[in-house]
């Protein structure tokens, strides 16, 4: 087990490395650098001014040197002002050492966000916290509802309840966040006026029922159908097992068979599915946060991508890859732990 985890962690580091190289390559394409230079200088800058901005801030160094600097295996040279000969930081809003130093990812420095004009760490970690709250509520809504739907539908296969619930869960898997978000806003914010159609106030004045329900609902609905269907399939399979028949034949009531014998075995598969939902939730987070103007991770990612904020994008991709792979690892370990047949081996 230990060597399995170690190997997986190794693959994880390798994936993160390969992915950051790809992202680094893509954000450093010529058109993207131009975009960055244009947003960072005044809008009427000439071609030469853009070029000199890029050279001055070190964007014209060799690709591998720059990646090494970001990673922290190459020393970052200070920016020398040619007029005074003194070291000036590249961006006013970030500290930078005045002599050559290793300051990259390995030293815990995520770099500098050119869009938000703060260091990436300062921007990204609060945003992650905000997204964490959103995710928590989404999970808290999504998991119990979908498990309940799945168990109720799978308990008695082929009945009217089963068909209705299955139909409902197929429908929710057909509504991506940007569709359900619009429909819910129309119903609950525009027609009924119960809820707030924007979560912008959640960042400043705190989370309330009226500004947070719509984002949570919108995100949860897409996942509910999928998890419910998996739970149903797993429940249907368990209900046909011999030990369920035995329990029924020895005279236990249907409800106690379901609760005591079937449920525990039926919930192993959905656990894996819920864990593997995280990559989807990440996409959902981006859509929902843009739609409801909630200042979290997804919002930072979209803003960073729209402005080609190199360091912020690299930070975002690192975090999302970490989340995806880490939940995969947990799901594998958890599966082995929950399923005695695998645990013994």
């Amino acid at each position: 087990m230990f060597s399995f985890i170690l190997r997986r962690l190794g693959v994880m580091v390798l994936t993160m490395f390969a992915l950051t190289v790809v992202v680094f390559f893509l954000v450093n394409l010529e058109p993207n650098l131009k975009k960055l230079a244009i947003t960072q200088t005044e809008s009427r800058a000439t071609e030469e001014q853009l070029e000199s901005w890029l050279t001055r801030n070190g964007y014209r160094q060799n690709f591998f040197v720059r990646y090494g600097q970001w990673l922290g295996v190459m020393p970052k040279q200070p920016n020398i002002d040619p007029a005074t000969g003194e070291a000036v930081p590249r961006f006013r809003f970030c500290d930078e050492p005045s002599e050559a130093a290793y300051s990259g990812l390995l030293q815990g420095e995520f770099g500098c966000s050119t869009k938000f004009r703060v260091s990436v760490a300062e921007r990204l970690f609060p945003a992650l916290g905000a997204t964490g709250i959103l995710m928590f509520w989404v999970m808290a809504v999504m998991v119990p509802i979908s498990l309940l739907i799945g168990v109720l539908a799978g308990m008695r296969e082929g009945t009217r309840t089963d068909r209705t619930l299955s139909m409902a869960s197929i429908t929710t898997t057909a509504t991506p966040e940007y569709v359900s978000g619009v429909i819910f806003t129309v119903i609950f914010a525009s027609w009924l006026g119960w809820l707030n159609g924007s979560a912008a106030s959640a960042t400043n004045t705190g989370i309330t029922f009226s500004n947070f329900t719509l984002p949570v609902m919108t995100m949860a609905i897409y996942g509910i159908g999928y998890i419910a269907r998996m739970t149903r399939a797993s429940m249907v399979e368990v209900m046909t097992q011999q030990y369920i028949r035995t329990a029924r034949l020895k005279g236990l009531s249907f409800s106690s068979v379901v609760i005591k014998h079937a449920l525990r075995n039926a919930l192993i598969a959905p656990f894996t599915v819920i864990m593997l939902q995280f990559p989807w939730l990440l996409t959902g987070v981006v859509i929902v946060e843009t739609m409801f103007r909630y200042q979290g991770f997804g919002y930072a990612l979209v803003e960073g991508a729209a402005n080609n904020d190199i360091d912020l994008l690299l930070g975002c991709s690192l975090i999302s890859v970490f989340v995806v792979l880490f939940t995969q690892l947990i799901s594998d370990i958890g599966y082995a732990y929950l399923n005695p047949r695998i645990r013994v081996q």
Binding site: T15, L19, P31, V182, P279, L301
Partner: protein
């Protein structure tokens, strides 16, 4: 000037009337399918369940809408009639006397016509991109599952790499306007579009290599058709000018194929690993068949059930991806009538007006729902066998 409005009955009747070619085509297909139900195999069996019929009806509805879009629409989807700006559903255009059945959007365009034309964009890109993703995923998934070992490790690592990428970030990086200046989209397109040609060439070669009289015509056909489509799509140099794709659409196409082929790869790989332990594969190995013959002619046909179901679901998923692209304003032109872009436009003004938002959302949702229902019915059928 005061606009005249149709009542609710008027709107419903107007919409029903505009869709007449669709009703006609649907009726024809239904009559033919129900008459020859027994002889239609899997397709005929779909008509046994309510879910299957609903799925087929919804999918065919959108298919025919896309085909007859130019007959159905009442206005040019890009035309702006100034007086109809933000008009409510049923408003009558005083000049032409025709009604804006679902109202006008903030740029005074007819929402109904935009929704109908949007189906054309979605129904061309989504199935085509899914087909290419299936080709790429299958061609790579077969050897990964069959040989295992190092090929499997490398290919699986690459697939997981793409799957670990947040889709939105991938799209933002791959579908920015600037990237059209670089060779990246064309290189990717050149690689992806090679897969179908290789796939069919190997498919025919392994089967007919001892029968040249069958092999050469088939190979020739593959290469001629392949080169024609390849030239048209990648180099935009189709000698007959039948196949062409705008750089923007090529870019979207490539990005969508790139994002969804690792999923196909994983499914195919899993299926192959399961099927290769069967006796008929062992029998083929004993006969001395080549590995690629076994993969393409023994394993692949036996994996078709789950693959068809997956293809159905995947077209829906691709539609959702396209909508996501439109929602973030990536790739497609801002005035494009596709559903994702329309949803983006409308959702920004949701406080002021709600009617422009509903037609594209409901259209997208119903199409994906139709595909999901179809996939569900197909799965039920394949379980029965």
């Amino acid at each position: 000037m005061q606009l005249e409005y149709l009542g609710i009955t008027g709107i419903v009747l107007g919409v029903l009337k505009q869709f007449w070619p669709v009703w006609l085509a649907l009726g024809l297909v239904l009559v033919v399918s129900l008459t020859f139900k027994k002889r239609l195999g899997l397709y005929g069996h779909l008509f046994d369940s309510g879910v299957g019929v609903t799925g087929i009806l919804i999918c065919l509805f959108w298919l025919f809408t896309a085909m007859f879009a130019s007959v159905i629409v009442t206005f040019d989807p890009l035309a702006q009639v100034a007086i109809m700006k933000g008009a409510l559903p049923g408003a009558v255009d005083p000049q032409s006397g025709a009604a804006y059945l679902f109202g006008g959007d903030r740029l005074a365009r007819d929402i109904f016509s935009r929704m109908v034309y949007g189906s054309r964009i979605v129904l061309i890109i989504a199935p085509a991109a899914t087909a290419f993703a299936l080709m790429v995923g299958t061609t790579l998934g077969l050897p990964a599952g069959y040989y295992g070992g190092r090929i499997d490790s490398v290919l699986s690592f690459l697939a997981n790499l793409v799957l670990a990428f947040p889709v939105i970030l991938l799209f933002y990086l791959l579908v920015t306007p600037g990237i059209m200046d670089t060779p990246i989209p064309y290189t990717l397109a050149a690689v992806f579009f090679l897969f179908p040609i290789v796939f069919f060439a190997v498919l025919f070669y392994t089967r007919f290599k001892t029968r040249p009289e069958r092999l050469y015509p088939l190979l020739g056909l593959t290469f001629v058709l392949g080169a024609w489509i390849y030239a048209g799509l990648v180099f935009d140099a189709d000698p007959l000018d039948l196949i062409s794709i705008s750089p923007n659409q090529l870019n979207i196409f490539v990005a969508v194929v790139f994002a969804s082929s690792p999923g196909v790869f994983r499914i195919v790989r899993g299926l192959v690993m399961d099927i290769k332990t069967r006796d008929y594969v062992a029998a083929a190995q004993t006969r001395g068949e080549t590995p690629w013959y076994i993969m393409l002619w023994e394993i692949l046909p036996n994996a078709r059930g789950p693959l068809i179901v997956d293809a159905c679901l995947r077209i829906g998923y691709t539609t959702i991806l396209l909508g996501t692209l439109g929602y973030f304003g990536l790739g497609l032109a801002p005035e494009s009538p596709d559903w994702g872009t329309s949803i983006k436009e409308a959702s920004r003004l949701l406080r002021a007006q709600i009617h422009p938002a509903l037609p594209p959302t409901i259209a997208l949702m119903s199409f994906v729902l139709g595909l999901n229902l179809l996939a569900d019915a197909l799965r039920e059928q394949s379980m029965k066998d």
